[in-house]
């Protein structure tokens, strides 16, 4: 096995591509945790819902106009984001808000319950077999530095990067973003300062879920098959990414996603497929024992 020389670019590219999906999903985990200290285990299933909503929307669009294209997909992406965002808000309103004052364990178990409810609800509607996405992004590919890069991958990464860029603008530059950061620091004081805490939390759920839904649509369009359990694995991975980056930290989630993608890519290459997860999670354990706050979770005052 030649070491990295010819393969370096390909390994990095594969890692970054998968990592951008992890990052998109990790953002929702991280933001929600930053604000109400809840690990929303149903978050991965919002990604799955995004894929299924887009599946239905695209199916009916293609039924109407016969042909799907990138603009249509972008429109579907936007609608799906709004819908999954709404579902995220709804879940928070129904399942989490009544438990706001409860012990954290109760909320955690509720989140696990929501996760199962979403997964098996979809299973009842669509059945256990994977569904085939009605539209796939396909384009040419070209060689860069001995690695293969496809146009589709670039398009999806640009979309992911744009979404993240808009998000950080919003959190860092807008009034609502400031309110979010304030609540993350001190919910009590924010309440006294006249911040509408409930509305801000709702909005956080909306944004996080919309991003996860977007990732789900992109996964469907790129990989082509969707199933009711697709959110489970990526949910765990995104949570890991959020922790690596420093949970509650916006940039940390983005960075953590990319780092996790790279770890997996290099781990598979060096040790083989069977050892990938062993390697990745051994790195995680090692890293957290040295630096429990994650890469960027350093100073609490800077959170969110």
């Amino acid at each position: 096995m030649g070491f990295f020389t010819d393969d370096l670019f390909q390994l990095v590219w594969n890692g970054l591509f998968v990592g951008s999906f992890y990052a998109l999903v990790a953002l929702g985990y991280s933001m929600v945790y930053g604000i109400i200290k809840l690990l929303n285990f149903a978050h991965g299933d919002i990604y799955m819902l995004g894929a299924f909503i887009a599946f239905v929307l695209l199916g009916s669009t293609i039924g109407l106009i016969g042909e799907a294209s990138l603009p249509v997909l972008l429109l579907v992406l936007l609608i799906t984001m709004i819908l999954t965002g709404g579902i995220g808000m709804f879940v928070e309103r129904v399942a989490y808000r009544p438990l706001r004052g409860s012990p954290r364990l109760a909320v955690l178990i509720t989140a696990v319950g929501v996760s199962f409810a979403l997964e098996y609800g979809i299973r009842q509607i669509f059945g256990p077999s994977p569904e085939v996405f009605p539209f796939r992004l396909s384009g040419g590919s070209f060689d860069v530095l001995g690695g293969r890069v496809s146009v589709t991958q670039i398009v999806l990464m640009v979309i992911a990067a744009l979404l993240m860029w808009v998000l950080q603008l919003y959190v860092m530059r807008s009034r609502e973003g400031r309110a979010m950061r304030a609540i993350a620091l001190d919910p009590q004081a924010s309440l006294l300062m006249g911040v509408n805490v409930n509305r801000v939390i709702s909005r956080t759920f909306f944004i996080g879920s919309a991003l996860a839904g977007a990732a789900g649509v992109m996964a469907g369009a790129y990989y082509g098959s969707i199933d009711f359990l697709m959110g489970f694995t990526i949910g765990l991975k995104a949570f890991t990414a959020a922790v690596i980056g420093g949970i509650g930290n916006l940039y940390g989630a983005m960075l953590g996603g990319l780092v996790l993608g790279l770890l997996e890519s290099f781990g598979t290459f060096v040790l083989g497929g069977e050892w990938r997860d062993v390697f990745t999670f051994a790195c995680l354990i090692l890293f957290l024992s040295i630096r429990p706050t994650g890469i960027l979770g350093a100073r609490v005052a800077e959170r969110m």
Partner: protein
Amino acid sequence: MSFTPNRRRPLAPAAALAAAAALLLAGCSGGIAGGDEGGDGDASGPIKLGMLAPFSGSESAFGDYMKNGAQMAVDEINEDGGVDGRELELVVEDDACDATASVAAANKLVAAGVEASVGGYCSGATLPVLPIFDEAGVPMVIPAANSNALVEAGLDTVFLINGTGTQQAQATLEYALKVGATRVAVLNDNTDYSKDLADSFVEQAEEEGTIEIVLDQSVTPGEKDYSANVKNVIGSTPDFVVWTGYYQEGALITRQLIDAGYAGPILVGDGSVDKKFAEIAGAGYTENVVGTFTQTPDMLKGAEEWIASYEEAFGEAPGPYSTQSYDAVRVVAEAMKNAGSTETDAVVEGLRGLDGFPVFSGPLTFTDEGTLSSGGFAIVSISEDGTFVLKDDLQD
């Protein structure tokens, strides 16, 4: 112990546990019916053949295919005067592809006085009933279930007329050699079924010596992105790729392999032979995909007449394992005729003595382990409409 279901879906751990529990139970309560029914059936009434097949649950589609295939053979043999002047009678019970249900159903069959068993679809539901039939003196000719665990049970009353994992691996190797493969990459999905098949293939390939195994790795099932694994495959520069897992991952890996620049043949195991494979992989990605699969009636040469009479009798087309179930009955009847008796030992001797008995999968002779001595698997490829069709029956 590996429970390798002979079907498209992995056996759930719960089912495996249930099967293990049922095994224990069966061990404690063996011969619940008490009767040594198999040995001393009165020599004038009909000869009862028992069949366990799934008629409810996830695999229920296969129950009718099996029942009808067996019934057809029973009717034909009875028209020809039966076995030693006695008619055959098929007694069917539902095993629901579930270990607990199958143990209860097997005890029912033993109580009904069956002389032989011609059923068994899910390996996980078939394994726990072996000792029940064995103790009751009921020889088993199993048409569909094919886990190596059934062979490893080591009972001399058990015969399999579907190919086993070892034989599937053999067919894989045979085809790889046929197309001149020299460097083969093997991927499995870490489930029992898939790993067994991969290990068996690698072992046989190394023994044969012509082929170099350039990669033998597992992937994590249930994911969407296999680019890292694909990277390893491409890096090992194979001229032939073998995938032994299920279609969900197999189709994604196929697509990603071809996107990454692989252009050689990809051979998939029977867990990937499903219409969904082509849908998920997408148009233009399946030209080089072939699979190993047990022959279905529509693939068999000279089966047109048989299919027509099946349709006439049951009002629907035959499906997977119709032919094997039909053959199971014929094999048992032939053994009984040759033995001139329905005594357990005599029938087992009769089964062992079969030499080149013509069945759908070719001439049948059992090995000492009670498995087929040849064949059982054919090579299929994906047609225009995404279905798998016969490409090479490996019969030459």
